[in-house]
């Protein structure tokens, strides 16, 4: 058993070195493909972030001063609920300090310095307001009234900043999800054809092994390990690209800073890490499985 393992590793190593053309081709292809896939996930997440504040038809946000007492918050809530024909009371949502902080953390992923300055004394909590169907215009007229309620810090209307973006929301989401799937399929096709071609170049080798009495798995396993390693290296390279471009993107977005909300386009490091982990796992699995299947095509001797 140990000798089998040793054999497999030696075999794989030698093969990677001696078929350097094929190795490099497989690695480059998977690097490019996986980068595309990972990149799409990041872009999609950025848009999601940007839009999530206005998800579910939220059209108005009422920011409550951090100094408000629970009673005062209840007052504001009552004020909002006092126009049940305009405000969809069922969908009225209050984010307390913890929830507001969580939201800020996500939106300020690119700006940890600012985030660290937030605390219970300066972070406003917020009500998210959804109008009843067709009542948006009336809501806009009521907005100023709500601003007068004690301890309301600011009232922000979707229309002011992100109405258009909010309108784009479903559309962009469909497009980015579609694109991810497309690129995933594309990446699989690319990895598959590269490995298939490499196997084609080595079909006589496989044939000879069979004729000498090797079992299918004996032949397949080193090939699969080889594919796994190529997928792994390709995935690591693509992670390098992802880190690099995420840095560029983040810097670009941070420079845009100001009153706009585009800072939310930046994804958090933990999400980036998750994507990279998935890319690595996917790369290894795709490489191993594709190699195994491609080898099988020539095992029939």
């Amino acid at each position: 058993m140990l000798s089998r393992l040793a054999y497999t590793f030696r075999e794989t190593g030698a093969s990677l070195r001696r078929n350097i053309t094929l190795t490099v081709a497989a690695i480059l292809t998977s690097a490019v493909s996986l980068f595309l896939v990972g990149g799409t996930f990041l872009v999609q997440r950025g848009f999601d972030n940007l839009l999530s504040k206005w998800a579910g038809g939220v059209q108005m946000i009422v920011y409550v001063s951090p100094t408000a007492t629970p009673d005062q918050v209840t007052n504001i809530k009552s004020a909002l609920e006092s126009s049940p024909t305009v405000v969809d009371v069922g969908k009225l949502e209050y984010l307390n300090f913890e929830q507001s902080l969580a939201e800020a953390k996500r939106l300020l992923a690119a700006d940890p310095t600012t985030f660290r300055l937030l605390n219970e004394a300066n972070l406003p909590t917020e009500f998210k307001v959804v109008p009843k169907a067709g009542q948006l215009n009336v809501l806009v007229q009521l907005a100023n009234g709500f601003a007068e309620v004690p301890k309301v810090q600011k009232v922000v209307l979707a229309r002011d900043q992100v109405e258009q973006i909010s309108k784009l929301r479903d559309f962009v989401q469909t497009v980015t999800v579609g694109l991810s799937v497309l690129l995933l399929v594309g990446a699989l096709i690319l990895i598959w054809t590269t490995i298939r071609t490499a196997m084609f170049a080595r079909r006589r080798e496989i044939e000879v092994m069979k004729l000498v009495g090797a079992t299918n798995w004996f032949i397949r396993i080193p090939f699969m390990l080889e594919g796994l390693i190529q997928g792994l290296i390709g995935a690591l390279m693509s992670c390098g690209f992802l880190l690099f471009f995420n840095r560029l993107w983040t810097n670009g977005v941070v420079k845009l800073k100001g009153d706009n909300g585009f800072i939310a386009l930046v994804v958090s490091n933990s999400f980036l890490n998750l994507v990279m982990l998935l890319v690595v796992l996917f790369g290894m699995a795709a490489g191993a499985i594709a190699s195994g299947v491609a080898a099988s095509r020539f095992l029939d001797v």
Binding site: S3, Y7, N19, V208, V212, G213, A214, F218
Partner: protein, 225 residues
């Protein structure tokens, strides 16, 4: 040990390479296959390790009908048959040592056994000092000898040799023949296709002669003619 019953082989439903071949090879026998180029010698040998399947008839090896054997048993069959291919079929990405060692790795021999047996076998065929060369760095005859070494390194029950001396000078060829004879004497059944008149006449073993796919002579202690 090997038994062919009315074996007919037709390639691409048009080339009849073997027609109704029937014969027995007993355990420990040494058989020469002779006949003009294209008469079906290699095809006959390829029948015996299931590299090809017959259109009609049956092939029995060690008491089993190998054409009714499930695919999963074929590697096991092939491990018991040493094969010297007419075109050598070396692994081009492996060194001489690795090519020969492969036949042992396939049957799961531990590393220390491999490290000891491979050099011994390479010495027998006169390739000491060339262990680390790749096939393309060898002369034709040297490649042929690697193929020979690989075929019997794991002491197979049967040795199928297709033209094993075709690219060897008479002296080296005779050495190889003496080696095959010695292997045969230890109980290995040997079937060898050859064009080498001198060797056949010298050895005086059983000769099966083919012509256009038909066995036209099967003679104990025969000559090339």
């Amino acid at each position: 040990m090997i038994r062919l019953e009315n074996v007919t082989k037709i390639y691409n439903s048009e080339v009849t390479a073997l027609r109704d071949a029937t014969f027995d090879v007993a355990k420990g026998e040494f058989v020469f296959l002779v006949g003009p180029s294209g008469s079906g010698k290699s095809t006959l040998l390829r029948m015996m390790n299931r590299q090809e399947s017959p259109e009609k008839g049956a092939v029995w090896v060690a008491g089993r009908n190998i054409n009714e054997m499930p695919d999963s048993k074929v590697p096991h069959l092939r491990r018991n048959i040493g094969n010297i291919f007419q075109d050598y079929k070396l692994l081009l990405n492996k060194t001489v040592h690795e090519n020969v060692a492969f036949a042992l790795e396939v049957i799961g021999r531990p590393k220390h056994v491999i490290r000891q047996q491979v050099p011994a076998v390479l010495d027998l065929v006169g390739l000491t000092g060339k262990e680390d060369r790749f096939p393309h760095q060898l002369s034709g005859g040297e490649q042929q000898r690697v193929s020979i070494a690989r075929a019997f390194v794991n002491r197979p029950l049967i040795l199928l040799a297709d033209e094993p001396t075709g690219n060897l000078d008479p002296a080296t060829g005779e050495g190889i023949m003496r080696l095959l004879d010695r292997i045969n004497k230890t109980g290995t059944t040997v079937v060898m296709a050859t064009h080498d008149q001198r060797i056949v006449n010298m050895m005086r073993k059983r000769v099966i002669q083919m012509d256009r796919g038909i066995i036209v002579r099967d003679q104990a202690r025969g000559v090339y003619e």
